[in-house]
Amino acid sequence: MKKGKTLSIAIIATSFGLTAFGLGSSASADMNPALAALGQPPIPPDNKQSAEKVELGKLLFFDSRIGGDASVSCADCHAQKQGWGFNDPISRGYPGVIHWRNSQTVINSAYLGKLFWTGSAKSLENQAPAAALGAVSGNGERDMVEARLAFIPEYVKRFNKVFGDDWPKVNNVWRAIAAFERTLIHNQTPYDKYMRGDKNALTKEQKRGLKLFKGKANCVKCHNGPLLSDQKYYNLGVPRAEDWLENGMAQITFRYEQYAKGVTEELYRKIKDDAGLYYRTKQKADMGKFRTPPLRYTAYTAPFMHNGSFFDFDEIVDFYNAGGGSNEFTDGTLAKSKTKLLKPLKLSDQEKEDLVAFLESLSGEEIKIPTPKLPPYAPLPAVAKTN
C-alpha cells in the first residue's frame, strides 16, 4: 500500500484536530476522508491535561457519590469489564429505572466532536453532567455533588491543587472526568499498525475485508477518516428495541423520554420508537437518525447500535448485506428518513467472513486499569472558620 501517503494524511488529520475527523468541512462532497491510523486526541485549550487532573478525574469517574443516591458512578454504565460500556442492549440506568439506549464505550470518546447517540452534548465536559444528573442515568444534583465532595478531605486537597478551588466546584468535576476520559484511547490496533505501515499486522482475510469495507460493501461511505466515523447522522432502519414491547419499566422510560424531550402531544401519543436526532432538531427528516459510531474497540462493546439490537459482527454484516432494515421512520408511519446509501450488498459467505475478520482487526488489547480506592468522608472541624 501507499505507506507514505497514508502516514502523511494521518499526520495532517492529527495536526488539524477535530475538524479533520470527518465533519466534512475539508473534504469535498463526494470524496470520503481517507482511512488512516488514529493519532492523539484533541485537547481543548480551556481544559488542558495534567497528571493530577487525570488522577482526580479517575477517582471521580469511579465515585458513586456523584450519583443521586450515592450508589451509581460513571463506571456502572461504563464498566471496564464491559468494554467501558454496558453489555445489555439497553443500559441499566439509575436504580428503579432502566435507560432507553445502549451505553456507548468511553474508549476513544476523546476524538468525538459531539457525544451521545444524537450528539446532544458538545464536549466531554458537557456529557458528564448530562449523564450524572439525568433522571434515568445518575439522577444527581449539582448542589448535592458539591456538598458531598466538600466532606471528602482528599478531594478538597486535590481540587485545590488542580483547580485552585477553596471547596470542590461541580463544574470542575466534569472537567476532571473529561481529562481522565481523554486518556482512554485505543489507537494501537492491528488495523492502526497496518495503516502505519506494518503489512503483517492484518491477516489475509482481514486485508480482503478492508478492501470490501472500502469497495463493494461501501462501509467507508460513513465509517471513514481515522476515527472510522463521519460523525454524521443516519437512519439505517434498525428495528425498535424489543424491550419496549415486553418490559413495563422500559415502556415507562420510553414515554418519559418523549415527555422530557418536548415532543408534541400528538407525537407523544403515537410514537413507538426512538426518533433519535429529531429530538434535537425537531425536523421530521431527522427522525430515526443516529450518529455513525466509531468502530474501534468493538470486540469488547457488544451489543451494537443505539438500542443494542445486534449481538455480534455477523448480525451487523447480515443487516447491512440486506440493505439495512425498516422501522416506523422508514416505512412512512412517522417519516421516510432511511438513508439512500444502504442497498443490498450481495456479499458471498466468504466476503461476509472477510468483513467480520476486518472488523476484528479494529480492537487490540483490552484496556483495563486498577479500580482506584476512593477517599472517605470526614466531619468538618466543629468550630467554624470565621470568614
Binding site: G68, M144, R255, P379
Partner: protein
C-alpha cells in the same frame, strides 16, 4: 388563626370543658377540636395509595409513609429524620396530622402557599425523594389500578399535576379526633395544666388556636443537635440545602438558621426561629423540637420552666416560669390530653399490598401512549 375578642361563646365552651380561664389572657374559644375538612372521598382514596407508594421516589424505594409513619403519628420517632440514600436528615419529621390546616409548612415555614407545593417539594427535593416528576407521571400511568382510580376520581389520565392534588386531598383526612381535651374527659390534673398553659406558663401566647400553634416562627433557643455537625452525611445535606436556599457562609456556620431563610435580616436577629409546632398528638410524636433535642414532654416543660435555652436572639417572652413540681406535672397531663386516637385504621392507611412491579402494556404498538 385569628384570636377573637371576648365573646359569650368562648365562655360557654370554657364552662363546658369545666375549666376556669379567669386569669387567662387567652380565650378558650381559640382552642376546641380541629374541624374536619370537606374531602372528596375518591380523590383522597387515590391520594392515600400514592402516599404509601414507594415508586414516587427517584429510586422507587421511598414512599411518603417511610418517614410519616401512621403508628408514630405520621412522624418517625427519630430525633433527626432519615433522608434519601446518600444524604441524611437535619431536622425532625413533623406530624402530618392536621397539616392541612396549617398556614405554613416545614420547621422554617418556607412554604406558605398550600400542600400541593409542599408535596412537590418533598417529591422532588434531592435529599428527600429526589424524583423527576415527569418520570413519576409515567410510572403511575403504567399501573392499571392508578389509571382506573385517576379516572374515577375525575382526574382523567394520571399526571404529575393530579398526583400533587390527590395527596393533599388525602392529607385533609388526617384530622385529630378523640382527645380527652376535645371530648371534655380531662383529668383534674390536665384541667389545672390547661389553666397554667393559658395563664402562668404563658404557653398559649404562641400555642394558640385549635392546633395550638400560631403558625409563626419564634426563637426559644433549643440547643443545636450536635449530630448534624459531627456526621458528614447530615452536615453535607444541610450544606446542600444552604446552597440552594441561600444561607450565607454555608460552609462555615454550624447552626440551623431556621426561618432566617425567609426574612434574611442583615443583623441575623431572625436566626434560630422555628415554627411553633402543633401540640396535638404529642403522645405519638416524640422526640420534640425542630431537631428532636428533647425526648419527653416532662423535659419539654422543664426546658420552658428554665426559660428555654441560651441565645442572644431568644424571644423575650421565654423566661423562667418558676413552676412547682406539681405544676409541671399538671402541664404535662394537659399536653397528654391533646392526643387522640391513632390514625392507623384502613380509613387512613393503605392496607392492600402495592405491587411495585410494572406489567408491560399488552399490544403496546396498538395502544396510544
Amino acid at each position: 388563626m385569628n384570636r377573637k375578642a371576648s365573646s359569650g361563646i368562648g365562655w360557654r365552651i370554657a364552662l363546658a370543658l369545666g375549666v376556669t380561664i379567669a386569669a387567662s389572657p387567652v380565650l378558650a374559644d381559640d382552642f376546641g377540636p380541629v374541624k374536619p375538612m370537606k374531602v372528596d372521598a375518591k380523590k383522597a382514596e387515590l391520594g392515600k395509595r400514592l402516599f404509601f407508594d414507594p415508586r414516587l421516589s427517584g429510586d422507587a424505594a421511598i414512599s411518603c409513609s417511610k418517614c410519616h409513619i401512621p403508628a408514630k403519628g405520621f412522624s418517625d420517632g427519630l430525633a433527626l429524620s432519615k433522608a434519601y440514600p446518600g444524604s441524611d436528615g437535619f431536622r425532625n419529621t413533623p406530624t402530618l396530622i392536621n397539616t392541612a390546616h396549617k398556614a405554613a409548612w416545614f420547621h422554617d415555614g418556607r412554604i406558605g402557599t398550600n400542600l400541593n407545593d409542599v408535596t412537590r417539594e418533598m417529591i422532588t427535593e434531592t435529599y428527600t425523594m429526589n424524583m423527576d416528576m415527569r418520570l413519576m407521571q409515567e410510572r403511575i400511568k403504567q399501573d392499571p389500578i392508578y389509571v382506573k382510580m385517576f379516572k374515577e376520581a375525575g382526574y382523567g389520565e394520571p399526571s404529575n399535576g393530579s398526583i400533587r392534588k390527590a395527596i393533599p386531598e388525602y392529607l385533609k383526612t388526617l384530622n385529630s379526633r378523640g382527645s380527652a381535651f376535645d371530648s371534655g374527659n380531662m383529668s383534674d390534673a390536665a384541667k389545672r395544666g390547661f389553666d397554667l398553659f393559658t395563664g402562668k406558663a404563658g404557653c398559649a401566647q404562641c400555642h394558640s388556636g385549635p392546633r395550638f400553634s400560631d403558625d409563626k416562627p419564634h426563637n426559644i433557643a433549643v440547643p443545636e443537635n450536635p449530630d448534624i455537625w459531627s456526621e458528614p452525611k447530615r452536615h453535607l445535606t444541610y450544606v446542600a440545602f444552604g446552597m440552594f436556599i441561600g444561607i450565607e457562609n454555608y460552609m462555615n456556620i454550624r447552626r440551623d438558621v431556621g426561618a432566617h431563610i425567609r426574612t434574611h435580616k442583615s443583623d441575623g436577629s431572625d436566626i434560630g426561629k422555628f415554627m411553633t409546632p402543633t401540640l396535638r398528638e404529642l403522645n405519638q410524636t416524640a422526640p420534640y423540637m425542630h431537631n428532636g433535642m428533647i425526648k419527653t414532654l416532662e423535659e419539654v416543660v422543664a426546658f420552658y420552666n428554665r426559660g428555654g435555652g441560651n441565645d442572644t436572639n431568644k424571644d423575650p417572652r421565654v423566661k423562667p416560669l418558676n413552676l412547682s413540681r406539681e405544676e409541671q406535672v399538671n402541664l404535662v397531663a394537659f399536653l397528654k390530653s391533646l392526643s387522640g386516637d391513632p390514625l392507623t385504621g384502613p380509613e387512613h392507611v393503605w392496607k392492600e399490598k402495592i405491587n411495585v412491579n410494572y406489567a408491560a402494556i399488552e399490544d403496546w404498538l396498538k395502544k396510544k401512549n
